[in-house]
Amino acid sequence: MSIEIKTATLEPVRNTYANVERRFGDKPATRYQEATYDLQSEANFHYRPLWQPDLELNDPRRTAIVMQDWYAFKDPRQFYYGAYVQQRAKMQEVAESNYAFFEKRDLARFISDEVRADIIRYLVPLRHVEHTANLNNMYGTAYGFGTAITQALLFNGMDRLGMAQYLSRIGLILDGNSGDALVDAKQQWMEADIWQGLRALCEETLVTEDWFEVMVAQNLVLDALLTDLVYRQFDNKLNEQGAQDIGMLTEFMQLWNKDTSRWMDAVLKTAVAESDENRALLAQWIETWRGKAAEALAPLAEAMLGAEALAEALELLDKRIAKAGIK
């Protein structure tokens, strides 16, 4: 037996908004659909931007990628704002308890001075890379086309700010909140030879104009390589050196990378499936940025991990590229 609460049933006039109905038919829609499709203006703009008078305010021509429908970039995670913050809140809750546990038990004391110096040399400077990634994703948010992809880029951009802050906190945990580790890490970033290739590459992404290209350079090429180098290989190395507890502080980034590469792979697949021109363009961008990144990361990867490390990371990147149907 089950209880049955009687409610008044009113017949709706329609099941969803007309734009959603045109795309998916007259049936109840998901919150992702109603919050995503056709939100951005596409017609009848009043004024050309003073800062870019050759284009409209919202203009698909800010990239050389061409799409019939920019809403083809459906997010496999179906993140709209509410879904996004709730997912990240869960992740941050775990991260918060990890950080609190690490600090309460003072797990930093088990890390040798040598390894501690390695973390400040190799891990903490990545906060500046995350900051670059924040800007590069905001770039796509501001100049990209269609809510499906621009909202995902915004979420990614805010995530990168969050991770820059987590990396900063690792520095503060290691230096007893003096900020010295952050200063040292910044000095590494600004002056150490092993970082200059990557810093130059970051600066180059920030002056690259095509937002889709920037997204590929950042979210595919650089992220794939750095994720493997730092959050897999360097993490393994820390394990071997008795600093496995640092893994509690980088778990967020590891989970995040899984979540986000799923989205990024879907974006690439969709762009490739659209046309041969898109595929050729993506192949060209990826080749260019893969080459630059390999060169930029070589000294860092070698110093941090040894001679073979970069090749392993590149192999994983190439697998993802192949899987997206690009090569």
């Binding site: 008044a8 003073l50 709730q86 900051h131 945990i173 600066e203």
Partner: protein
């Protein structure tokens, strides 16, 4: 080693502010190219005072908590047919105006703050803008979800984004935000961050939410409460922007003053739609437009501009004229919509006798003298079966794009009418304020996509108005438009309520 305790300000600085670095390999200006062309001088971005000091982990946590509560209410509202609890079906027309006219502005705010959140050279200012950007995305999406249930039971909400890009009166809010986004990043911040979010928000966002509260709309008012702490952050940012610009360099003062003058005027024209919503569309009134203007602009804004006087900023130009307009605009605007009700995407009506009395009481100096007689005439005509709709398409002001229906304030029977000639073409304006804005930047405003011009040029289908409404605007003609009397909205309501 005992860790030193960090206060929030130091912690935020360490976690966020020092992420930036001096470029060595590229030209910094190429990465942030739009900072100089407006003539604003920034000598030191590090003087920026972070208005929120909110780290992302805290942001996710607080916002997720708010979202969980908000969506629980949305679900309960839908499950229990909360639309049956509103004061009167006329109320939903305020929501139609909101979803088609205001929610798309939240979207443009998301885009505009993403632009400044990428372009400003100082990391503190950038991050503050990024946070506002994502909040604005939240607002448009939660509004779409709050209205989603209404859309299933009422007409006129269904094609809100398509309408926003096309329908004649919606070019008023759309062009307002296009104007701000098309401007440089600092003007955008003064226009939206300061003038709109700080000075005028209590007159735009808040009246809709109070209207929801007074009229039994639990979904919308819950959104309003949920967005309140976001709005408080945005107001803080707006004020910080102004102070920062004024403190950075004295040469910024006249530029900022010019923008304040412009955006105050643009803003008050935009608020016309709120004035008529408050005075005519809410079945349960919150307060009159005139009262709202007195409380939120004349008192609160007056105090603000007194504070800003030490920087050399004065009250916005034409504030004295607006003080007179508060007696008139809502009546003139609702009359425009009443007479063009066949071409509007929401229903219009003659105020009830009680409502006419309320208006007489709230506007003792103007309503009986100028406006009540019109409604009495409209009532007579309606009683004879001759509900009045005008056949003509209105002439629009080139700047604010509102039909030229405003009058001279010293003579409320004379339409206010200004013009400028630019490159041998004549442009029309509703006011000195709008004419001055055009004259300052004619190259910008000659581009205005004026809906009536576009219809006459054949760019919106046709040939008849009804063809434009049906094919170009995608309105359900006969359901979305016309008087509330005899509308499907009204019929359904009566059926639900068991009234004949």
């Amino acid at each position: 080693m005992a860790a030193k305790k960090l206060n929030i300000k130091d912690k935020y600085r360490l976690l966020t502010r020092d992420l930036d670095w001096e470029f060595s390999y590229q030209d910094h200006k190429k990465a942030f190219p739009f900072e100089e062309f407006e003539g604003i001088k920034i000598t030191d971005w590090s003087k920026w005072e972070d208005p929120f000091r909110l780290t992302m982990d805290a942001y996710w946590k607080y916002q997720a908590e708010k979202e969980r509560k908000l969506y629980a209410i949305f679900d309960a509202f839908a499950q229990n047919n909360g639309q049956l609890n509103i004061s009167d079906p006329r109320y939903v027309n305020a929501l139609k105006v909101f979803l088609t006219g205001v929610s798309p502005l939240e979207y443009q705010a998301f885009q505009g703050f993403a632009h400044t959140g990428r372009q400003f050279g100082g990391v503190g200012a950038r991050v503050a803008c990024q946070m506002q950007s994502i909040d604005e995305l939240r607002h448009v999406q939660t509004q779409v979800h709050a209205m989603s249930h209404y859309n299933k039971f009422f007409d006129g909400l269904q094609d809100w984004s398509h309408m926003h890009d096309r329908v004649w009166y919606l070019s008023v809010p759309k062009s307002f935000f296009n104007d701000a986004r098309a401007a440089g990043p600092f003007e955008f911040m003064v226009a939206i961050g300061f003038s709109f979010e700080y000075v005028l928000t209590n007159l735009l966002f808040v009246p809709f939410m109070s209207g929801a509260a007074y009229n039994g709309d639990m979904a919308t008012v819950t959104f309003g409460f949920s967005a309140q702490s976001d709005e408080a952050r945005h107001m803080t940012l707006g004020l910080e922007v102004i102070k920062f610009l004024l403190e950075q360099h004295e040469d910024n003062v006249p530029i900022v003053q010019k923008w304040i003058d412009k955006w105050f005027w643009r803003g008050t024209r935009l608020l016309t739609i709120v004035s008529m919503m408050m005075d005519y569309m809410l079945p349960n009134k919150v307060m009159s437009w005139k009262e709202a203007w007195e409380v939120y602009f004349e008192e609160a804004g007056g105090a603000l501009f007194k504070d800003l006087a030490r920087y050399g900023i004065r009250m916005p130009k034409h504030a004295d004229l607006i003080a007179k307009e508060k007696e008139h605009v809502s009546h003139q605007a609702w009359w425009i919509f009443y007479t063009h009700g066949h071409a509007a995407g929401f229903h219009t009506w003659i105020p009830t006798d009680e409502e006419l009395d309320w208006l007489s009481e709230k506007y003792p100096d103007t309503f009986d003298k100028y406006y009540r007689p019109r409604w009495e005439l409209a009532k007579e005509m309606e009683a004879k079966g001759e509900r009045f709709y005008t056949k003509a398409l209105p002439q629009l002001c080139t700047t604010c794009q509102i039909p030229m229906g405003f009058t001279e304030m010293d003579n409320p029977t004379q339409i206010s009418y200004r013009e400028s000639i630019y490159k041998d073409e004549r442009y029309h304006f509703c006011s000195d304020g709008c004419k001055e804005i055009f004259d300052e930047e004619p190259e910008k405003y000659v581009q205005s996509w004026l809906p009536v011009h576009q219809i006459f040029q054949g760019n919106c289908g046709g040939p008849d108005v009804e063809d434009v409404l049906r094919d170009y605007y995608r309105m359900n003609v006969g359901a979305d438009n016309l008087d509330i009397k005899g509308s499907p909205d009204e019929e359904r309501w009566k059926k639900w309520k068991g009234v004949a």
